[in-house]
Symmetry: D2
Subunit: 288 residues, 4 copies
């Protein structure tokens, strides 16, 4: 796996199997695949330290949704919203008195890094309404608050520190962290969404969150949702590219459109998971 | 002062004098005016509770910079940068080992409310570099970190709570809070910058920060910098406009340009104040 | 009608009736109202010079759609899309070999003036595909091309001149021109869409198109679609505001959201009118 | 030169020399290099058909400005503005009664393709003022108008057709066309500006202008100014990437900042060339 950077457990698994020739299975890694209506769902469970080391990922569950037609098909978009909602509900016990903090990571001024901030702008936040005018809200609307903490280079503060500070004050039962990812395979860029219950790993994403974000450093379960929007230039380049010289990224020409559509799918997946009596149409009325 | 909303102490003072006919002076309010090169500087000191009540503003110093040509003249822009830097240094003792947290208030998606977030994007933040690679920085570069916490309606969290949480963790010696303001007089919109050492008052700005932000609730001195970008429709309207019906604002047609230019002046004023060995040209190299 | 500026025929009609006391009807003006599901449709026909003079509008048909819930309700949005499509088809004979030029007027950098450019970005343009790969397209997909010509202040060219030049070269059978309008009544801002077969009148809109745009100066029928996004400050102000001093506008605080939602309704109304075999869901797949 | 796409004559020249081993010189190509203060200027003259064929570029002059520090140094920025102005004046005879049409090519919604539209937004356009209020303008202010015609995929009209139509109507003596380019060498991305008197070649740029733009098809001299903002993924990739599968681009992570700074340099270079009595400071007052 030298020189190949991927934030996707499913890719790390494939690369790992390729390196260990003949190995049909790695101890500590269980995976399964299902597919329906042009959408594939791959589940990778890393169950022990050996699996964690082999894949370079934390112990836990990684669900990968492959939806090549996400940006073209409303049908696929709607299914992806519902799959995201189901997976979140499967990983966390959302009750109507729960409070969830959604964190949109990344730099809004670098388009391929703007997935997290774009998702945050499309959420149906309710925490302030529940505190003051909760009778305005129907049943099964849980508490949601959201921040886009920015990136180290523009805030001067470790992103994890901002999130920990807000978490201590607001006291959510769950954090959902959304970030753009890097993939190794071009075909995964803009088509794959990964959901895991292990949080954000150090150094993931376009913008490099140095400390990571997980239950250990926040005290709260962290579900991470991400989509690869770039391949590191070093992954595909024929020649060695010194990072100082040119911090390059490889992305798709339609990345603005991709971010808009994918962030809508992720945001509405989260909205559906947290507000269980609402339909997709309901949440779209509020947030687009 | 019924029905007239202003965040400017200088306007509150004028309105207050008008209401108290014959009154040449109000107990607890001292003001002075100077002017040079087309830029006026008005200082209003509110020295006691009587003055505070008369003007509806907290006890403290309010400096108003009137620069009608700010958006047209580079000369005026440069002078305003230097005046802002001088006033900040006059209000706070900036040393090279100080840490300042700059807070950009307001909603970046409502143009006239985007002054604070735009300023934050133009700052020379140094806190993370000082912590890890301080030898990269020259002398007299103080520590600067910055956040744009968002607004209650999109985060679900009281803005003051986010700032207090980050303040407790980062432990700055000074907060500088930047926000768009409302004025009563059309001629002040986009031409006047107010700097005060009293923090942000509850309900100021376009986006209504409900709790305010001051030394009392943060434990740290708060310098507030603002520019009126709107007049409340109720201030100028012939007819009563119910707020629920239409939350209107009156602003200038060139408000996008105004925000760009004014935020550059405020940001570089802050940059000069906090990095005392740098020239305006130096800071412009980094942040535009 | 002194000092009250409105681009809406329906408002001009009301104001005109108010001024001519006792007059229940004006010669040369016929109007009718219908309402269903919270959406009102008012038709004003100006049939002769007397009506034209009384209302200050050209002879022709003006349809006003009143949809106060457009920005909150997907039901209303869908109905408005279909009403716009029906009205366009009623005013012009769209065939699958027609070519329509859609013109997005206004300044994209002034939010309340960006309706036209935002609509243009959401159109399903087909002219280039029909010319080169027409077998890719299904039946009843007519030819659509689109430009956003900019405004005089940033191009240095009369907007009408750019449109006439492109019209001569591309030779459409129909022009649909979209622009932001000014209203007299606060309640119409962001809630009313006007469609007329008379083109754009000189001086309409936020950005002032000086020559107007109509069949006479383009040689092609011009359907104009607009939504009031501002009230002129002079319309509501208690005091006289000199335009040189402060070119103010009164708009709603949520104008960014309004432009996004209204431009989607107008764009998809146009898409449905011009591509008659497509459903709203079909066009949303392509353009959002 | 198979598989290597470059819009830069200087790169085509280097690649061509490499392929023709031992060849120190190609018939029909003359080049010279000068350097001062960290800025290199390379002049490539293609003087006959042989040179044109060898380099795959039209006969004419190509000036390449290499300024690696353009985005960090105000000194370099100012020098680049002046070099661009000098080169434009050297290629065209600008008089105070000249009319120049500046065309900003590319798609404003794809950041690395937005150089042209960003330049157009920073120009000091004067054509409309000269026609109506010419006494407002000083001496040596020539006529400038500007359009951003969009791209084929969003207008449905060949870009060259829009430009030819506007040219016929406005009748400029000169066209300056600005576009983002593709380079072969990573180090040229965002650091090199090319000015040529040969116009835009078919297929250049990120957005592929299919017909090109030159004196032959417009009847007017066309100066082209461009900066590489991307490398085609196929140029650097280890593996064959099918274009249908993933229209990738390789760009720098700070491309938003690069576009902002480079477009300011190009715009102000053009402003200085066309308004010969103005200083850089003068033009910056108007356009930033």
């Amino acid at each position: 796996m030298k020189n190949i950077r991927t934030d996707l457990a499913v890719e790390a698994h494939e690369l790992s199997k390729k390196q260990a020739k003949n190995a049909t299975q790695i101890d500590g890694v269980i995976s399964s695949v299902e597919e329906a209506d042009g959408i594939g769902i791959t589940r990778v469970e890393i169950t022990n330290e050996n699996g964690s080391k082999a894949l370079g990922k934390a112990i836990g569950s990684y669900v990968t949704i492959d939806a090549p037609d996400l940006k073209y098909s409303l049908d696929v978009y709607e299914k992806v919203c519902n799959i995201i909602a189901d997976e979140i509900r499967g990983m966390a016990n959302i009750k109507s008195d729960s409070l969830t903090l959604v964190v949109g990571l990344g730099n809004r001024d670098i388009t391929p890094d703007a997935l997290g901030t774009s998702v945050v702008s499309k959420l149906l936040v309710t925490h302030h309404i529940k505190q003051n005018m909760s009778d305005l809200l129907g049943d099964n609307i849980s508490g949601v608050c959201a921040i886009a903490p920015g990136v180290l280079g523009t805030t001067g503060i470790e992103t994890a520190d901002i999130i920990k500070a807000v978490t201590e004050r607001v006291k959510p039962q769950l954090i959902i962290a959304v970030d753009a990812l890097a993939a190794a395979d071009i075909q995964r860029v803009s088509t794959t969404i990964q959901i895991s219950d292990t949080g954000i790993q150090p150094g993931a994403g376009v913008g490099n969150n140095r400390e990571g974000l997980n239950e250990k450093n926040t005290g709260v379960k962290v579900i991470a949702i991400g989509m690869p929007t770039v391949i590191d230039a070093s992954t595909i380049s024929k020649v060695e590219i010194p990072e100082e010289l040119a911090p390059l990224m490889v992305t798709t020409k339609d990345i603005d459109l991709v971010i808009e559509r994918a962030s809508k799918a992720v945001a509405n997946g989260i909205n559906l998971a947290l507000h269980q009596n609402m339909t997709l149409r309901d949440v779209e009325c509020y947030v687009g």
